[in-house]
Symmetry: C2
Subunit: 415 residues, 2 copies
């Protein structure tokens, strides 16, 4: 039985209790949300040692960190360092997006080591193994394999179907598709001339998901990759399909999140959240960014933090981190660190604004520590203690009741 | 005659023409805005070689970069490197906030080298020279000295007066004052038991400003330094005073900007902008941040970029940059670079949302360059070309129609 099935029978599971404890709320709130579908607690029955967190309505905004090997960069230890860094910095979920190397080998180790939910994009295993020359059967086998390993949620581009492919015929987009997994399905459909198996055999997918309690993260193959393309017919067409697939999943007690953009200008973010919440019936919304401009290369953790904060404020439930390496290279460890910090800040700023986190929880404590020149307490509250240490040490001078910014003229000393 | 005096006589000045050309608009729009006070064109009559920019309603959101020596860090060349970096990265104004070393010596060099408007906080020269043991006469002399040198705008905390000091008696703030210049005036008033000379002799200040066409940047001594303190009575009390001082300046044809917060949660930013625009009669609004959480130490360029983007969207006219060093140390060159990039992104994202910058100007060009794998064009559009080069080179692989992020599986290749 899935978390959703149990929730609907009125059962508060151990996983819900753990998630509620992390959240600091009554587990019944989580049970109710999981039963309705507005909250997910991704928790594969085979993920030993998992301490799951709740993603959805009324919960603190969560963040996800991606890592993974690519062809030619197949060092498992380096990716496990990224996992450890993600855990150290309190990432709420991690995704292993390996597209090269021993994919199942690394995934097994990640699941063993990760107390937070682990996600994947099974299409990556497919193209790594077979390019686009895979069969529907191959794909379902990969999904079952990963489900058996204990993957808690899977991004599956079920909404990239023949109708959305046809819609591209008169596309006005700058970039038709910037989703790696969505692109795989598009190219597969073009090559085979048949329907996307994830859409055509969606019930089979649901049966697998129900068996292992894999949460579906319905991928957005048509997320806009430039602000020019934001909130257009391709994106909304897919979102409507994902809304229908959400209802079908809920009928089988399968937990669902819906993925979202992408590149979206600031003034369209609230609309995007509202659209997802209505078209997808309140299912949790998990966004990549959104990036509020296309021209931030080298700083896309910041273009994404701006969009992510506003998105979280308006009701987005999980932010996928974006690093300074976005659009340029595979993220290095330093990029992972900067990306996590930026995304944690965005989630927290959104939570302060939407009222799920009180100022008194951390912000007031930080400000009082600042007023008291209590550097140790400030360090405790910093998202990135390594960076804090470096800067704070550089700035030390005099009697510690100052830093090199204002020196003895620190305005807090006498006012 | 000031720009404002000329504008009110219907004269389109050379400075307005230069500003209009940069903006890509009819100079008459700028003349009208300067006449009304909704736009400033800071342009001291003694600043040779100035190519001023317009700050205010309907203009692109501007950004300011700060630098300056502090006691013990008195290397003029290092600060001039920061100036050069600011110019290279297209900062719209710069402020020399030196509080140590040969303040007038550096300021003279900065004004000579800077084609963009130069701002100062004259209170810093005061405390550097005399601590708080200065007289009203000393202060006005410093202002006149700097005006003669060609300073285009000055932050002056005229609204920190006895009434706002008295209001602190029952303060519920975590931090009464986090403004260095505001703190100087507070401490001066406490020590002398008399009114702030900038408030008491405001007409004298206006006469000096009118003579040299120094734009007043009315400082916010009570800007909130923690989100707990945001939008409170101290802040609004001062803002009302600044609104009255704005009208008095306009009577004497003195250009005015009003400075603003500070630390403000996301959901209070639009309110803050609206309040300033109504209480200060549409005068340009120049904000420091706002930082949307207090706990971003090491990443406050990001907490500020989030707030700055939303503020710009809602009508803020200039963003003061914030660097990763905020709250921890005097910014190093790398901090200046990251701070400028973050702030440029915030301003641009706000401009896309408020419609003063079209997507087609840069974003669509970037996205098409991305789709075409035109790395040279992408580089041209990047805010920080040094960082772009480093990341792009690291990410190069194969046939250049890919980067190490997705490699040969780049979704743009086939869709």
């Amino acid at each position: 039985m899935t978390q959703m099935a149990k929730a609907r029978e009125g059962i508060i599971t151990e996983e819900m209790k753990i998630a509620a404890q992390y959240e600091g709320i009554d587990p019944e709130i989580i049970r109710k949300g999981v039963a309705e579908g507005t909250i997910v607690v991704p928790a594969n029955i085979n993920h030993k040692g998992l301490k799951p967190r709740a993603i959805g309505k009324g919960m603190k905004t969560k963040i996800n960190t991606n890592f993974g090997m690519s062809r030619g960069k197949e060092d498992q230890e380096y990716e496990l360092e990224k996992l450890q860094l993600s855990l150290d910095m309190n990432s709420d979920t991690v995704m292993d997006l390996s597209i090269g190397g021993d994919i199942k080998g690394l995934l097994k180790r990640v699941i063993e080591k990760s107390p937070v939910a682990v996600g994947t994009v099974p299409a990556y295993q497919m193209i790594a193994e077979k390019g686009i020359f895979f069969t529907a059967e191959d794909f379902f086998e990969a999904i079952i394999d990963q489900a058996k390993l204990g993957v808690d949620y899977m991004t599956l581009h079920c909404g990239v179907n023949q109708s959305s492919l046809k819609l591209l015929d008169d596309s006005k987009r700058i970039m038709n598709c910037v989703s790696r997994g969505g692109g795989v399905m598009l190219n597969w459909m073009k090559k085979n001339g048949t329907e996307n198996p994830l859409f055509e055999y969606y019930d089979r997918l649901l049966d697998i998901a129900a068996e292992y309690d894999v949460t579906l993260s319905l991928g957005d193959g048509f997320r806009p990759g430039s602000i020019h393309d934001a909130t257009d017919k391709h994106q909304i067409h897919e979102l409507r399909i994902l809304g229908e697939l959400t209802l079908r999943a809920w009928e089988k007690n399968v937990q669902v999140m819906v993925e979202g953009p992408g590149h979206v200008p600031l003034d369209q973010i609230a609309t995007n959240v509202k659209l997802q919440k209505t078209l997808c019936h309140g299912a949790p919304f998990y966004v990549l960014g959104p990036l509020v401009t296309d021209i931030g290369a080298g700083y896309d953790h910041i273009t994404a933090a701006i969009g992510g904060a506003v998105a979280a404020w308006h009701g987005v439930d999980m932010l996928c981190y974006v690093t300074p390496a976005e659009h340029l290279r595979l993220p290095a460890l330093i990029d992972v660190r900067e990306g996590i910090a930026a995304t944690k800040i965005a989630a927290h700023a959104g939570d302060l604004a939407k009222g799920v986190t009180s100022y008194s929880e951390k912000d007031n404590v930080m400000s009082r520590a600042r007023k008291d020149y209590d550097w140790e307490k400030q360090r405790e509250l910093a998202f990135d203690k390594i960076k804090f240490d470096k800067y704070q040490k550089d700035g030390e001078q005099g009697d510690k009741k100052q830093c090199s910014m204002c020196g003895e003229y620190c305005p807090m000393r006498e006012s």
